[in-house]
């Protein structure tokens, strides 16, 4: 059988984001993979050094749409660490609520896309319709379907009054029945299982060797979640389970996300119950002295690390971040070895890649 190379991408591999794969195949079996990045590099690390610390909250929010809250959230935590700012307790709860709402929307999007990639478009639409509940919630509470604008230095920009809390609780309640139905369907539907079970397997040892994070690593049995290992804001006070599965295939990665959606619903409900009264921001616009700090958070795709260095001016001297997708790309080489050409898009989609994050 002859060996040849086929180009996959840069457009429409799994999502409408550009990444170029040079796939070596023997017949219909993948034998090698080369990934070429750089199609959506916008130079944001340079741009943040040209804007002041407040403008950068908006700029970092627009690095990526699906994890658009994790970026400004981590950035604000880094700034607050340098400035020695202690945020009010109510703010910490409100930040968790915003982050978990984004996680639900992000995970459901990937779960839906997986259904679409196996050709199960009816299911895709049902999941997207359920995800729409969260989109409406974001629009109603925060004012935008993707960019929440929830964070500011030393606080948040939104509040939940009695009416807001009741609305959010009702929206979460509406999610529960469909989520259970989806879980049963993804666990038992024959055509879905045949396309995803045992496909794109990433063994635990490889996940650790390549430093994979997030749901991709947890689906391979790596019990690592920043919210548990290095709790920030109030995650140490909230009761939630870190989901892990052992198989490391496309199906496990989908199920991890579906289960994490349920955990996020639980987390938000606890926040609504426990949130104390108080201010939603510190009083003054803070001045940030010279210094450096690192902030970590668990973005929907995994561990997000922000490094910030300031020089006492209102512009960051250096802002650098490592996104979870950056690590996870490496996993594709293991997952795709020996897979069929028809599964390439499905496996790419299963790591929930965020290309605009990776390339910023």
């Amino acid at each position: 059988m002859s060996t040849y190379k086929i180009p996959v991408g840069p457009l429409h591999v799994a999502l409408e984001e550009p990444m170029y794969f040079k796939v070596e195949v023997e017949g219909e079996t993948v034998t090698g993979l080369d990934i070429q990045a750089g199609h959506v590099h916008r130079g944001i690390e340079y741009l943040v050094a040209k804007r002041n610390i407040h403008q950068n909250i908006v700029l970092t929010e627009r690095i990526c749409s699906l994890c658009s809250n994790s970026h400004p959230f981590s950035y604000c935590m880094a700034l607050e660490r340098i400035g020695g700012i202690i945020v009010p307790e109510r703010v910490e709860y409100l930040r968790v609520v915003a982050d978990e709402i984004k996680r639900i929307a992000s995970h459901l999007f990937n779960v839906a896309i997986t259904a679409h990639l196996v050709g199960f478009d009816t299911l895709f639409m049902q999941v997207m319709e359920t995800r729409e509940i969260m989109q409406d919630t974001k629009e109603t509470i925060f004012g935008n379907r993707m960019d929440l604008g929830a964070n500011r230095i030393g606080g948040v920009r939104y509040d939940l009054d009695g009416e807001g809390k009741a609305y959010l609780a009702a929206q979460l309640a509406r999610m529960k029945a469909p989520l259970d139905e989806f879980r049963d369907l993804y666990e038992t539907n024959g055509s879905f299982l045949r396309r995803t079970k045992g496909v794109g397997v990433l063994p635990r040892a490889d996940a650790i060797r390549l430093g994979l994070v997030g749901p991709v690593a947890r689906a391979s049995g790596v019990d690592y979640d920043v919210r548990r290992k290095a709790p920030y804001v109030v995650y140490d006070r909230l009761d939630f389970d870190v989901q892990t599965l052992a198989d490391g295939d496309v199906w496990s990665r989908t199920m991890i996300r579906l289960r994490e959606v349920k955990e996020s619903v639980r987390i938000i409900e606890q926040c609504l119950r426990d949130i104390p009264e108080g201010p939603i921001s510190i009083d003054a616009i803070p001045e940030i002295p010279a210094g450096e700090a690192i902030a970590k958070s668990e973005a929907p795709r995994g561990e997000l690390i922000y490094y910030l260095r300031t020089d006492g001016s209102d512009k960051p001297a250096r802002l650098k971040w490592r996104v979870p997708s950056y690590n996870n790309w490496k996993g594709l080489q293991v997952m795709m070895a020996g897979c069929k050409v028809a599964d390439i898009a499905l496996i790419v989609g299963s790591i929930d890649p965020c290309i605009s994050c990776t390339e910023r």
Binding site: N52, N56, V58, L59, E61, G143, D147, G149
Partner: protein
């Protein structure tokens, strides 16, 4: 199959879950961040908005009698930072998202107004305006007519006016 039968039935009864826009109303939440509105009477010309706008959509231009405020809606990213940091409440995020327009109208989609400098009623020097919402924050508890009198003065005269007299506890 057992999952999709009720779904099918529900969809038949309920109709499409998408919004009928443009043939019907699109749901618009009250808090939606959309078009920014500007009230020149509540502008203190502090220009924090121009400094904070991440998109550079807000610009001030010098005019003989004041400063012209320009907000380019097509450059705006609807983050609402300007409204958040506007202490004098001159900028507001509205939920009006109807911004579609013809290509030929693209340079007309501007929020534009000239905020005029004023003359201090005491010393007669030219001064920046002191809008009511800002003054109400600065002098809480003062009667309305007293605030009106103070805000017609320049900061120096205002300070002199409000400083406690010698020997009087502040």
């Amino acid at each position: 199959m057992s999952f999709f039968l009720p779904v099918l039935l529900r969809n038949l009864l309920k109709g499409p879950s998408t919004e009928a826009f443009p043939f019907g109303e699109a749901i618009t939440p009250k808090k939606l961040r959309a078009r920014i509105s500007f009230d020149p009477d509540s502008c203190a010309l502090c220009r924090v908005c121009a400094r904070i706008c991440p998109a550079g959509a807000i610009q001030f231009e010098k005019k003989p009698d004041g400063l012209e405020f320009n907000l380019w809606h097509n450059a705006c990213v609807f983050c609402g930072l300007c409204a958040l940091y506007c202490e004098s409440e001159g900028l507001h995020s509205t939920n009006d998202w109807h911004l579609s327009h013809l290509q030929s109208e693209k340079y007309d989609l501007v929020e534009r107004a000239t905020v005029k400098f004023q003359k201090c009623t005491k010393c007669g020097k030219q001064k920046m305006p002191a809008p009511l919402p800002l003054m109400a924050k600065l002098y809480p508890g003062l009667p309305a007519d007293e605030i009106e009198r103070l805000r017609a003065m320049c900061p120096q005269c205002r300070k002199a006016e409000t400083a406690p007299a010698e020997g009087e506890p502040s």
